[in-house]
Amino acid sequence: MLEIKDLRAEVDGKEILKGFNLTVPKGEVHAIMGPNGSGKSTLSYVLSGKDGYEVTGGSATWNGQDLFAMSPEERAQAGVFLAFQYPMEIPGVASLTFLRAAMNAHRKARGEAEISIPDFMRAVKTEAEKLSISMEMLKRPLNVGFSGGEKKRNEVLQMALLKPTLCLLDEMDSGLDIDAIRIAAEGVNRLRSPDTAMIVITHYQRLLNYITPDVVHVMARGQVLRSGGKELAVELEESGYASYGAEAA
């Protein structure tokens, strides 16, 4: 279970999260919707441990572990996975090299031996096929020259291979057309399980047609202002965020 209590965080001395509360039990998918500048992305960076996002109050625990006491890599090894809104391009590091380094880091943290090359290739091939990612593409430097859709599918591939238990999907639909959203969303849906909690951060309701949330939260001005079922997303799509004190986006 993810428990966030009265979380306060600032960036460059400006408070962005202002007493944020959220509980996500295992097996559930929660959507966080909100206008631009509401602090959605900040939340994902704070939970995954990015430098420059300073926690000034409150707590966040995942299965009882204090996330803020851990480095970004320790959080990842404990099951936290941030699917980036804008995945990084890393010239000179082949996707396969990167995937193997990441998988082995997780195995090492669990006290397991490194994955053998044949096992690794088999695992990658199986998951890549489901996402229509060619092995040729994975020999190229990570995300370099990839389209927006390819980058997002690559994020889902990493998720499928690393098998995280707490997934933070940050604006997964931004910049994607409907087909690309569908492929990525199907990939995410395959990873839903009774042991996995997911937070889907999105501005639009559209993505939630593909990934059905158990709970929808409306976030604005650094706080959760309202929570409800999936119908809340539809309501927001119609009424906009204006009633939450935000400008229409």
């Binding site: 995954s48 890599e73 990842a76 996975f81 990084m88 000179g92 590091v93 990167f98 990441a102 880091a105």
Partner: protein, 441 residues
């Protein structure tokens, strides 16, 4: 009354050390009893004396003040019986295992027992010292080993040369495996001087790997003349590796028309490594692609200086330098592109990128374009920066520990200069060297 006074340049202690060294070894150098050899050496010594030990007010040595950096000259090695040498231990198994025609110089001497180049098909190989024994041999050989003007390193390498590789590849010959020139300093208290000359006949294709390994604070200076014939192609990897040694190298490369030259230079560590070169286009439609990688920490100082001389039209040059500098290390890249009159349609580009891992590391990049033709494309760029924190976070957010993430990104950065190497064994060996360097911190 008029006072007549002859002014002669007095040798400072910096020059005097070399002159004294010559006086102490001149009767024991190879070919000491052969007048032609002696004259050849002393012409070089005179050239050195006239040039002096370069310092920061000499433009080409502005960032590498040799006078300040080289405060002692070790006794010359390579005059006595061959020293012990273990190639595997010196250069590492991965490099040693590359299938090649091998020419090993250890402690300033050619080591036939460790070499395999002798008698290789299509390759004529002779150690320089073998040609210095008789007046007739020497006269014929040395006529082709002229001294480039204004080149201090070439002058020292010539005056003190105890040996060197004289290699000639027959016209049209396509070598089935690389030539591996392995130069090992065997004693940390010595200085070594070698002079090499390599010639590719017209249409020949070859790959040469040079591995230079220092021992402790050993000193080495070398000069290589490389002549690439019409339509010939040479891939040339050169690795200099040591912790505390001094390497001074100079190379003059001449390309005939349609020739292709692809050098990749890597320097890992070393108290002082200065590798200067000239690539001289003499005929049209030739191409040179120069890649260089610098990995330095501690007080290392690595200087790559390159002059690309476009003296013929329709030639293309590319330069890419990647420097990783930590602690108080200093990296230098001076890249000059000269386009002579009439060298129209020249296409020359250079880029130097430095990754500074500490606040005290320094990278000096001096691009220089000298263009006397009006229909050319020339450009240069330089960057210096730190590791991208966003990339670091991306890797760490996938569970990759910080140190490993850092190593991955640094290896990727420097790898851009090594990716043109198509010999798999060499590529793997260099990757291992980079990984070992990164792990040593």
């Amino acid at each position: 009354m008029t006072i007549h006074q002859t002014i002669t340049a007095a040798a400072t202690p910096a020059e005097q050390r070399f002159l004294d060294l010559y006086a102490s070894v001149c009767d024991r150098l190879p070919g000491a009893g052969v007048p032609a050899v002696r004259a050849w050496r002393e012409e070089a010594l005179d050239a050195f004396a006239a040039l002096g030990v370069p310092h920061r007010r000499v433009e080409a040595w502005k960032y590498t003040d040799l006078r300040a950096l080289m405060t002692a000259v070790h006794p010359l090695g390579g005059l006595d019986a061959g020293a012990r040498a273990d190639v595997d231990a010196s250069i590492g198994r991965a490099l040693a295992n590359i299938d090649s025609y091998r020419a090993v110089f250890a402690g300033g001497k050619f080591r036939p027992d460790l070499s395999t180049i002798q008698g290789a098909p299509g390759i004529s190989f002779t150690p320089l010292c073998a040609k210095l024994k008789s007046e007739a041999d020497a006269a014929a050989t040395l006529a082709a080993l002229s001294l480039p003007k204004g080149d201090v390193v070439a002058a020292l390498s010539t005056a003190f040369a105890t040996s060197g590789a004289l290699i000639s590849i027959a016209p049209g010959k396509k070598l089935d495996k690389p030539i591996h020139l392995i130069v090992i300093a065997s004693c940390e208290a010595n200085a070594y001087a070698l002079r090499h000359a390599i010639k590719l006949g017209d249409g020949a294709e070859a790959s040469i790997i040079e591995t230079h390994v220092g021992a402790g604070a050993s000193q080495a200076w070398s000069y290589t003349a490389l002549d690439i014939g019409k339509g010939a192609a040479l891939k040339h990897a050169r690795l200099t590796q040591s912790a505390a040694a001094l390497h001074l190298a100079s190379a003059k490369v001449t390309l005939g028309e349609r020739a292709v030259y692809e050098p990749t230079h890597a320097a890992i560590g070393g108290a002082l490594t200065r590798s200067e070169g000239t690539i001289h286009f003499t005929g049209p439609n030739a191409r040179a692609t120069y890649n260089a990688a610098i990995l330095a920490r501690g007080h290392s100082h690595v200087d790559f200086t390159l002059v690309v001389d476009h003296a013929a039209p329709h030639c293309e040059s590319r330069e890419l330098v990647k420097a990783v500098l930590d602690d108080r290390a200093k990296g230098v890249f001076q890249g000059k592109v000269a386009v002579q009159r009439g060298a129209q349609k020249t296409d020359g580009k250079q880029m130097a990128n430095a990754l500074l891992l500490s606040n005290d590391a320094e990278f000096d990049s001096k691009p220089e374009l000298e263009i006397f033709a009006d229909d050319v494309v020339c450009g240069h760029g330089a960057t210096a920066g730190q590791l991208d924190e966003d990339l670091m976070f991306y890797l760490r957010a996938r569970g990759i520990p910080e140190a490993q993430a850092r190593a991955l990104l640094i290896a990727a950065f420097v790898g851009a200069a090594l990716d043109t190497i198509d010999n798999e064994g060499l590529h793997t060996a260099l990757d291992e060297k980079v990984a070992a360097w990164l792990a040593a911190k």
